[in-house]
Symmetry: C4
Subunit: 253 residues, 4 copies
């Protein structure tokens, strides 16, 4: 039995949930699962419909992008996943152990509008404390060089620059921490999200889609809607995260 | 057998209906059921997915917020429920015997926009005779003091002040009666609704979501849409409520 | 066996389809079926949820509004149905043998906006050749006199006046023919539709909801969207209706 | 057994998927499948509900519009399909072997708005490299001459003129290649899409509906949203199409 069996199972289970959560039509989304000890991730094969997927079809790729197990082509977005695992994790800190990319409708709409999703309410603040940052369009040079890899670099660069590096230049320039901001939009393209495992990446992908939907509706009611005050953002985030979190059951986090 | 068994069953049945009515993703909503004789309410445990819930998991809490039965942590919103049961009921009049809080999409959009939902039509007037009132954001002091408890106080205070106490200061200042206005929005957060039992609270939560959706669409067609004339509001409400109500079957109210 | 059995069956079958077509939550809609020979109609009982309905529960009412068979209260909207059957049918011409009233979301939005649904495209023109007309609000006098009966009169009056009698006074004043325009909106309230039997009334209710939805989206793309040219309206209508209709199979109309 | 059996089976399978993909209510859509060797296409019979359809009900029509097999009337849109098969295919090049026409909600909204769907993002660019072109309204002369046939001619004429021939005159005038641009809108009416077989036509119909929906939402967020830069459009299209395509599995295209 493959030593990657459980990693492939984890990736598979999250991939087949993509259409059940309404996050993609046809094959328009993929999830990967990362094992820091083995330094590989398992990812959806390219172009295979979800109902046909089996756990054994998952493709195992190392951090140089080399396939180490699997007969099928990995997702064409594999280099983007690779860059995020490589650059958002360190030896000491590996917050990114699962990644999702989809073309979910409302998150794509914000991406196409080249706008970060404003933090309008507590549904959003329960998950991240900033706008969902949106990159500018990828440059011509980057597209011509290595498109999917540079898409990863573009996200990483935005996290280094902070919100000043986003498409709509909202907010200040402090770097974003991928352990805290677990979702991003690529301008003109669509959403990426991540988390401590593949299931949490999927969860964050669904959160982003719902938050994106609520934000469009909020602007339809009140184009001048304001950002949630910082003291409420902070409170809601700490309800769910950090040492004094009190949401949920003990040990279930 | 627990003396709270039927109360827990009532709360459980309404909680598991939340996702069936499309009112929450994941664990983003909770219902409680109140027994005025025992002066306790049964509420959803925090962070437990609906499909995993059992009636025996419901947590029984008294009006001081003390858990009197149950092994799990109650919903983190428990103090908000407690305040509403305490302040909206009296010895003689206990209109609030069930409460729902969700992050349903359209009601959240109005909350995030900090706008009360205008009374545009008879679907709304069949249930309440005013705009669905929206509180301002909670103050920094209140958030730092006791967030969930103060969220309850904010709603109660708005009912005392009437619509003049809402985020968008619409209408006059006569106090709102929680027996008649069985729903409210918290600015930047989301909806609360209540009723004569947990099932009616759930019903009012679903009504609020649909009325919120219709109101957004109405504004998209006609940004100058007017409030329904008072004489129609009054008529529709009296079709369903009060001594001369003639909607439904005898004894089914 | 009741001589109304087949009429009740027809009404029942259309009522239980209301939630399947997404046209109403809870009990917010009703269909009736009319028999011109017996001069009675069968209608949903008031406030009974669709899953609980049985054909034998349908209430049979004559054109004076008197219950001639049935133990339950008829829908509170019964007098509106009665007026439409009475005033839109004659001895020689009985185009209205089924009526539906719901609170379907998009049709209600247009009603609440007090706007007739513009005829933007062929989906609409396949069914009616005018805007879907919307009445003004019912007057105070009418509401205080006999609310549901006067709602019927308001629709009838609008058909006599033609589109000049609608809330937004669009178009000219030629009377509308209920045999051709089989749907209407009541300002601040919601949709009514009808047809040659209960199933066709239900169909027209679903058409109206979809056309109402398409029209909102059309305005979001192009607030200056124009009405479909008259020569296309006419062509599309004649594809499906009248002596030279060529849509569908022979004898299936 | 009919020599058209497999063609009818192909058309049938795509037709019954129309409602499953949410592309039409009732009978408001049809798919055909074309066999260039036999020079015929199989198409849905007119007005038959999808659940009642059998493969043997499909009607086989030649390129003069003559029924060569089948007892039922073919779709009233048959002449439009015929024109597209005739004019978009040549002896050497037959890119159009399946066609779909529906009244899917969001694509109809763009048609009714008489606007081509702008190319805002990569979801769109993965499939076509231009706006989804929308024809002007059909002229009075064309409608009076032969409505459905002239609808086909209108689409063909727009492809010859390029985007300068669209309703909103967006972009330049280079002719469009139906092998690359596999979808179009008819002003005031609705969408047509095609592909290398009936299943691919259906797929393109679903793509168009989703792209149309994303584009409306994009404009709601940012009415000034820009077109995706040409170098990204080009890259995304070449990921999936042409000699160096690398999306999917070998031989699965």
């Amino acid at each position: 039995m493959s030593k990657y069996a459980s990693l492939k199972e984890e990736a598979w289970a999250a991939n087949v949930e993509i259409p059940l959560r309404g996050l993609a039509l046809y094959t328009w989304g993929n999830v990967s699962a990362f094992d820091p000890a083995l330094a590989v991730f398992a990812i959806k094969p390219s172009g295979v419909p979800y109902p046909d997927l089996k756990a054994e079809d998952m493709v195992v790729v190392d951090l140089e992008g080399k396939v180490v197990e699997g007969k099928l082509n990995p997702s064409s977005d594999t280099p983007t996943h690779m860059v995020l695992y490589r650059d958002f994790n360190t030896k000491d800190k590996t917050p990114v152990r699962g990644i999702i990319h989809t073309h979910s409708t409302y998150a794509v709409a914000w991406s196409q509008a080249c706008k970060s999703v404003p933090l309008f309410g507590t549904t959003h603040a329960d998950h991240i404390q900033t706008a969902v940052p949106c990159t500018p369009y990828l440059s011509r040079e980057a597209v011509e060089k290595d498109y999917e890899l540079e898409t990863g670099n573009l996200i990483v660069e935005m996290f280094h620059k902070g919100l000043a590096g986003t498409a709509d230049r909202c907010g200040a320039g402090a770097p974003l921490d991928p352990a805290e901001v677990q979702m991003a939009l690529v301008g003109g393209h669509g959403p990426f999200a991540w988390g401590g495992n593949a299931a949490k990446a999927l969860y964050n992908g669904a959160v982003l889609e719902e938050v994106a939907r609520m934000a469009i509706l909020t602007l339809q009611i009140n184009p001048e809607a304001g950002t949630l005050p910082a003291y409420i953002i902070d409170k809601h985030y700490r309800r769910k995260h950090g040492p004094n979190a009190y949401y949920g059951q003990k040990g279930s986090k």
